[in-house]
């Protein structure tokens, strides 16, 4: 078969991702590969319709952007608004915000690992079809996720969309005792996850999936960084291990673009290069702050930092899950439920505030302009919007690798591999169209 050019193929709807989206590949006459990640989620226009709303409602309104990482949106908006209102929050409230982000990250990572990505690693269509031995372990992971969701429910009244989060703290908080109740089960979960890492490592070793999907490249990665701990709430924004921006000027370091083929916006660095965010980016910037159990698993899974291989994002999620289980236990030990909110004064002047946190899938930016107690302007930049360009770039490199320059060698299997690469980024399309729901 000769060299074939000018062909198109597409995956209409990728299963096992959060939201509706597909991939279109176009190989042009001159042999160039174009990859479009198309988000077809309906546009929900959050940024527009929250204009005019009361600041107290914004955390719970923006929670509805995403059912998997709603907590991250809630905390990002609360952070942006407490910054705008110049509220001096006591340490315990900030710590509970951090605790919530960690719990949400465990929840979201476990959903992604169990339901969305483990079937790729094991080679089944769904977790319902796992071999009995794996299924048994997976049921245990599902129970760990359920445990974490119970803790979230105790803290904010619901495991999906919380009830008590406002920019000046919380409307109410449970006592430490109600949380400590779960400590023993959390400790057991950590051991369990360390043990299961051996099995995942063996399975990957046997079927060679990781080396098959290896993408040889260098890329930019961005995440929070502070000098004290593995960050989800505190810190500067670091690009390739270099702390560069604070949250007020991040939007000067990146730019947003709209494209006609997708309902999600995309971002690029200011020099027009793509970058990735999420578990692997965080790990690349912060592996020095991992707890020993997480470092042990990093070793078991043979992950070296920095890694630029998209598939490794799943492993980074697994390692982070263990880290946050340990960290959550520590935060619960320091938990203080009072005061749960602070007095604040709404002034008359127009104010601006940005809040950057790490959502499970990476850097999440909420930015508001408020006048008195009403929203005048809102801008939300989600992790998925940020890594779409990098995702398209990875698929392009992968297609060139497997076809070795002869694009006529594209096979059906390549399409399945592309699906796996997309899933390893863990795109959240509900979020990406926040205006709607990418």
């Amino acid at each position: 078969m000769g060299v074939v050019f000018n062909m198109r193929f597409s995956i209409e709807e990728i299963p096992r991702i959060e939201g509706h989206g597909g991939v279109e590949v176009h190989i042009t006459d001159d042999g160039d590969v174009k990859v479009l990640f198309k988000v077809t989620e309906g546009i929900r226009l959050f940024e527009s319709f929250i204009k005019g709303s009361d600041v107290s409602e914004i955390p719970l309104l923006t929670s509805r952007i995403c059912g998997l990482c709603g907590v991250a949106h809630t905390i990002a908006s609360a952070k942006a608004l407490s910054n705008a209102l110049e509220i001096d929050l006591p340490d315990n409230i900030i710590m509970i915000r951090r605790l919530l982000l960690e719990l949400n990250t465990i929840d979201s990572h476990l959903i992604h690992i169990i339901f969305l990505s483990l079937p790729d690693i094991v080679g089944s269509r769904s977790f319902l079809e796992f071999p009995p031995i794996i299924k048994q372990h997976v049921l245990e992971l599902i129970r760990i996720r359920d445990l974490v969701r119970r803790i979230i429910k105790v803290l904010i009244g619901n495991s999906v969309h919380g009830r008590n989060i406002v920019p000046w703290g919380f409307t109410w908080l449970p006592s430490r005792k109600e949380l400590e109740h779960y400590n023993e089960q959390l400790e057991k979960s950590i051991d369990y996850m360390v043990n299961f890492a051996h099995i995942i490592s063996e399975v990957m070793e046997e079927n060679g999936i990781r080396s098959k999907l290896y993408i040889d490249r260098k890329a930019n990665y961005m995440s929070l960084y502070n000098e004290k701990h593995y960050p989800l709430y505190h810190g500067l924004i670091a690009l390739n291990n270099e702390p560069l921006f604070n949250e007020e000027d991040l939007t000067k370091g990146i730019k947003e673009i709209s494209v006609s083929y997708s309902t999600a916006k995309k971002t690029l660095l200011f020099n027009n290069e793509p970058y990735f965010v999420g578990a692997l980016a965080r790990l690349n910037n912060n592996s020095g702050f991992l707890v020993k159990e997480a470092l042990e698993v990093m070793n078991i899974l043979n992950l070296k930092s920095p890694s630029y291989n998209p598939f490794d994002n799943i492993l980074a999620q697994y390692i982070e899950t263990i880290h946050f289980l340990v960290s959550t236990l520590e935060l619960i030990n320091e938990y203080e439920s009072r005061p749960y909110s602070v007095e604040y004064k709404i002034g008359n002047n127009v104010k601006h505030g940005a809040g950057v946190v790490e959502a499970p899938r990476g850097i999440l930016i909420h930015e508001y302009i408020i006048e008195k107690d009403r929203i005048k302007y809102a801008n939300i930049i989600t992790p998925t919007a940020q890594f779409i360009s990098d995702l398209e770039e990875s698929i392009k490199i992968y297609i060139k690798k497997v076809t070795n320059g002869n694009l006529g060698l594209m096979e059906h299997r390549t399409l399945q591999d592309i699906e796996i690469i997309v899933r390893s980024y863990d795109p959240c399309l509900s979020c990406s169209v926040h205006y709607i729901n990418i």
Binding site: R64, G67, L68, H161, S258, S260, Y261, N437
Partner: protein, 243 residues
């Protein structure tokens, strides 16, 4: 007894209902003894297939959503509007307040190709047999409704509003504190969980049949709630019904 074929479909929404569905499967494992999951993107089976029961979450926002909704209806014996976006449009009804100018503002003059239509709930777009309210639905209530269908029992929804449950539990009235709470006009059955966390009711369970509209109107007048905020909140509850 034959297992009933259960399909789960997602239209436009946040997919928090999917998360709640997983909670259902984890906490009520006997569901899988009586129901066979034949479609669910999150579980790994895509496509619209023939089923006894279809749980449909999300709203109709695009033309594609509408076409899928119709196809789901044709292929399912019983269709359930699963969650507030599907049942009453809820948060997505706020999009009805936004005009094309705003779409341009968000997308900087490039409007994405996916054709958008006036947002609608599933209930208004096709014939729906039952609904499971909530943002997201409580797994316990989902379990109750699914097992009622299985056993051929009549499904009853609470008549009393959330306000009634607050009074039963002696939860201090948030309306009296000047907070815009939709408890008096929203269907109960949730245990007044938001007011329990000192957070006002947003009406996610839809209008109550025995709504305390008098209490509501009186309280709104007394505490002088900003009409714009009231309008937006009522839009979430009733916005789907407007043409």
């Amino acid at each position: 007894m034959r297992k009933l074929k259960l399909a789960h479909y997602i239209l436009t929404g946040c997919e928090g209902c999917s998360s709640s569905l997983i909670d259902l499967l984890v906490n009520y494992p006997d569901i899988l003894e009586h129901f066979e999951i034949v479609s669910s993107r999150i579980i790994g089976y895509t496509g619209i297939v023939e089923a006894d029961i279809a749980l449909v979450e999300g709203s109709i926002i695009t033309q594609h959503d509408l076409e899928r909704a119709r196809e789901i209806r044709e292929n399912s014996r019983i269709v359930i509007a699963y969650g507030s976006c599907s049942y009453i449009l809820f948060i997505n009804s706020l999009k009805r307040l936004v005009n094309d100018m705003d779409l341009k503002h968000v997308y900087k003059n490039i409007i994405p190709a996916e054709p958008h239509i006036e947002p609608k709930s599933l209930t208004r777009a096709i014939k729906v047999d039952y609904f499971i309210p909530g943002c997201p639905p409580d797994p316990k209530e989902t379990y109750k409704i699914l097992t009622s269908i299985l056993l051929g029992k009549r499904i009853r929804y609470p008549d009393k509003p959330v306000c009634y449950e607050c009074r039963q539990k002696n939860i201090p009235c948030l309306l009296k504190e000047g907070k815009l709470c939709l408890g008096p006009i929203t269907m109960g059955g949730c245990g007044a969980k938001c007011p329990l966390y000192s957070s006002p009711c947003w009406g996610c369970r839809g209008p109550a049949t025995e709504a305390d509209t008098c209490i509501f109107e009186k309280a709104i007048k007394e505490v002088k709630i900003d009409p714009m905020l009231l309008y937006k909140k009522l839009q979430m509850l009733f916005g789907d019904l407007r043409d």
